[in-house]
């Protein structure tokens, strides 16, 4: 694993990519330090912490297992294409991913989609973990989040220092940070709204993916959805109830639902067909 880490770091250094906040790429394991404003054109991961995609959590394992299968890779490519297509048609760049209930695999989907998007050279991806009650994005990257969105919003921590570069090119993560239970109020503060607006318009090539908490469990998602351009509903095959799906669809009226993803399907092939 150490070898892979090192190889990745090397490749990154060679390409010399960085993130929007102007932080230079730091080839270390620890969290990155925030520095001053970024330089235009160059994405330097100066502020972000860089963590290698190591052995670790189940989620991380799953992701690795998933991406080891070629058909899955293709699946997410298809998803990526569809999403980009829909977003581009309206000039959108922000996307929210949610599901009716927990455990449907929305974080997995958002992470996979983010990674798939990040493969494209034409754009960068910012993955924001908005599930402040049960943050899980960091687990997919084996990160121990010390600072994240909640610190930014509550403590006034600098934004750049909250971002994390997980060792995947063109992908930056904003973890949720500490667990906050009054998340819906937090997410509707002006500061959050400002952040969303700023993040949206900051880089034209950047796609922002928001990993929302489940629709029917909290009202965070509903409150927030109006701030994003598009939305994807993740449905778990065999578990999600039809009633929940219907209710979610009702709640999503007015939001631009791009489509649904049928996750954990027991059918053999991963490609949608009638």
């Amino acid at each position: 694993m150490e070898k892979i880490q090192k190889a990745l770091e090397k490749a990154r250094r060679q390409r010399g990519m960085g993130l929007d906040d102007g932080a230079a790429l730091q080839a270390r394991d620890g969290p990155a330090r925030a520095t001053c404003a970024p330089e235009a054109g160059e994405i330097v991961y100066s502020e972000t912490r860089t963590i290698a995609a190591g052995e670790g959590t189940v989620e991380a394992q799953r992701m690795r297992a998933g991406f080891a299968r070629q058909d899955l890779v293709d699946t997410f490519r298809i998803l990526r294409t569809q999403v980009l297509h829909r977003l581009a048609a309206d000039g959108h760049s922000t996307l929210a991913i949610t599901s009716p209930n927990r455990g449907a695999g929305k974080t997995m989907t958002s992470v996979s989609l983010a990674m798939s998007l990040a493969r494209r050279v034409a754009n960068t991806v910012l993955l924001v973990d908005l599930d402040l009650r049960r943050p899980s994005v960091h687990k997919y990257f084996s990160i121990e989040p010390q600072k994240g969105l909640s610190e930014y919003l509550l403590n006034g921590t600098q934004f750049a220092s909250c971002l994390v570069h997980p060792g995947v090119e063109r992908l930056v993560i904003l973890p949720a940070g500490s667990i906050v239970h009054s998340s819906s109020e937090l997410l509707s503060t002006p500061k959050m709204v400002d952040l969303v607006d700023e993040v949206k318009g900051r880089y034209p090539d950047r796609i922002v993916i928001y990993d929302l908490p489940p629709l029917l469990v909290t009202d965070d998602a509903i409150a927030f959805l109006h701030h994003v351009d598009g939305c994807i509903l993740v449905i778990e095959d065999g578990k999600t109830r039809k009633g929940d799906v219907r209710r979610s669809l009702e709640l999503l009226e007015g939001c631009n639902l791009i489509g649904t993803v049928l996750n954990k399907s027991k059918e053999a092939s991963g490609i949608a067909y009638y």
Partner: protein
């Protein structure tokens, strides 16, 4: 993703394809398997273990009478089915069945736990009686035979019990028929007796009536009428006679008047002339009367007597001899004596007595006149007195006769009234008589009727006694069944297995229908209106794969352990396995022989 889109999705949704069904099958595989297997095991168990019942059947024919009913009518009437049913009720009475149960020791187990009554009921359920009909068309079906059957676990017992039932049936039928015939005969005999007494009673009444109204019987009407007519005519005669006599009296009165004024008149010359005038007149009268009436007629007789008296008077006068006078006196004494005798013998009113009185009077007068002969005028006077006396005498006679007539008439009138009353009563009596006669004839008729029926009934009785009437005969004795009647094991197996498959499928279907979760792309399409963007298969980590395998082997191991444990338990605690195997084989051999052969 509006509601309209979703709705149209429902309408346009494609039919479920094979793959969809396969997916469902795969999903619910355990729902299918477990119920099916469980039920299948149960079914096989039932098919093997269910005890067989054997059915023994007997057929009884309802034979037509040997003597045709037109010749001898049977006393037993009604349809054969009714009779069979009635006899069935009698035969299956609780006491009969209890006897059979005790005799063959049936239903041991049930008798321990249930009341005798319910055991008897159970037995009744195992007895079946079916009528066999035949006929030209549906309507005119007659019962010609019936089957009697009994079911039991043991074939021999079934046969024996059926046999008992059959005997009971036949004997009961016989008894019923005989009883019926003799009852009929008895009844008719009693009726006949009753009618006999009625007849004699009416006869008695009729006789009484005839006696009570002896003269007023209808057949006596003519006689009574005749009698009345005769009496009436006699009354008429008497009336006529009375009329004559009354005329005579008038005449006599007139004569008297003529005579009386002549008593003091002429002297000597006048002696004979009035007397002779009178005599002449009387003679003329006599001639006239005798001419009219004949010599026997009372008037004529009186007249002749009168004439004779007067003539003898005259003669006596011409004689004027004392001898005559003494002779007259002698005669007078004689007459007196005669009179005394007669009046003693007959009474004062007797004609002889009257006659004697008259004679005596004449003679007394004659004696008187002879004692005083000097005066012819006196003689003449005496003569005139004698004529008067004679006339008076005749008047007396007439009066007496009138009285007699009156009396006779009264008697006749009484008779007439009596008989008229009798005649009046006749219609009433006639009515009574007629009624009694009617009663009598009625009773007679009935009696004749009953007598005729009695003969028929006695014939019927004889018919039954000799069993020449309709009878039940056993044409098929109770069979000894070699094949069980139930259960139909093949059918149980077949149907049961089909049912268990159905149960499995049904359970799966139920679960599927009740499942609220999303399954497959189809559900998503129906819900959202379009297919999902992508379908992501379930990604298992290596760990998960391992864990699953581990669990699965654990389940299998547990299962094996449990089954072995159960087998060991059965073997050591319940029944050794080899014995069980033999038993099962035997059961299969017995119950499912067609299964056993391929197994060998």
């Amino acid at each position: 993703m509006t509601a309209d889109v979703i709705e149209s999705a429902y309408d346009d949704a494609p039919a479920m394809g094979v793959s969809d069904y396969l997916a469902i099958l795969k999903r619910r595989i355990w729902y299918i398997i477990i119920p099916s297997v469980v039920m299948a095991i149960a079914v096989v168990g039932i098919a093997l273990v269910w005890p067989a019942t054997y059915r023994s059947e007997a057929i009884i024919l309802i034979e037509q009478p040997a003597v045709p009913p037109e010749l001898v009518a049977s006393t037993v009437t009604g349809y054969a089915e009714e009779r069979v049913q009635i006899i069935k009720q009698r035969v299956l009475a609780t006491e009969n069945l209890v006897e059979i149960i005790n005799k063959h020791d049936l239903y041991q187990r049930e008798r321990k736990f249930q009341s005798l009554h319910s055991v008897v009921e159970k037995m009744r359920d195992h007895i079946s009686l079916e009528l066999i009909s035949a006929g030209q068309n549906r309507r005119a079906q007659t019962t010609i035979a019936f089957t009697l059957a009994f079911e039991n676990r043991k074939p021999l017992v079934a046969q024996r019990v059926t046999n008992d039932l059959v005997s009971l049936f036949l004997s009961e039928n016989l008894r019923t028929r005989r009883e019926r015939a003799s009852e009929t005969a008895r009844f008719l005999a009693a009726e006949a007796e009753r009618l006999e007494s009625v007849i004699s009673e009416v006869e008695g009444k009729l006789a009484d009536l005839k006696q009570t109204h002896a003269g007023s019987l209808p057949e006596q009407l003519k006689h009574n009428l005749d009698l009345v007519a005769r009496a009436e005519s006699e009354v008429r005669d008497l009336d006529q006679r009375e009329h004559i006599i009354k005329e005579r009296l008038i005449y006599l009165d007139s004569e008297l008047v003529q005579i009386s004024p002549d008593t003091g008149g002429s002297a000597t010359a006048g002696i004979t002339s009035p007397q002779q005038e009178q005599l002449e007149a009387l003679r003329t009268e006599f001639i006239k009367a005798s001419a009219r009436y004949g010599p026997e007629h009372p008037d004529v007789v009186n007249l002749s007597r009168l004439i004779a008296a007067l003539e003898s008077e005259a003669k006596r006068i011409s004689d004027t001899s004392r001898e005559d006078a003494s002779r007259i006196e002698e005669e007078r004494n004689l007459v007196r004596t005669e009179l005394a005798q007669a009046s003693e013998k007959y009474g004062a009113e007797h004609p002889d007595v009257v006659e004697l009185n008259r004679q005596l009077a004449v003679l007394e007068a004659a004696v008187d006149s002879s004692e005083s002969p000097s005066d012819s005028a006196v003689n003449g006077e005496g003569f005139a007195n004698r004529a008067v006396a004679e006339l008076q005498r005749q008047k007396q006679t007439a009066d007496i006769e009138l009285n007699a007539i009156e009396r006779r008439r009264q008697i006749l009138k009484g008779t007439i009234a009596e008989y008229e009353e009798k005649i009046e009563q006749i219609p009433q009596v006639e009515r009574q008589v007629r009624q009694l006669v009617r009663e009598y004839t009625d009773a007679q008729q009935q009696y004749q009727n009953i007598k005729a029926k009695q003969i028929t009934a006695q014939l019927g009785e004889t018919l039954e006694d000799e069993r020449k009437g309709e009878r039940f005969s056993l044409i098929e004795p109770p069979t000894l069944p070699d094949m069980p009647d139930s259960p139909n094991r093949a059918m149980i197996l077949g149907v049961g297995l089909v049912l268990s498959a159905g149960a499995g499928l049904g359970t799966a279907l139920l679960r599927e229908v009740l499942d609220p979760s999303v399954h497959g792309v189809r559900s998503v399409v129906l819900l959202t209106g379009t297919a999902p963007l992508v379908v992501v298969p379930y990604i298992q980590t290596r760990n998960e794969i391992w864990r699953r395998r581990l669990w699965r082997s654990a389940y299998v191991f547990c299962g094996i352990a449990m089954i072995s444990g159960a087998i060991a338990f059965i073997h050591y605690k319940v029944i050794p396995l080899d014995v069980l195997e033999v038993r099962v084989e035997r059961q299969i051999q017995r119950n499912l022989p067609w299964l056993a052969s391929p197994l060998e």
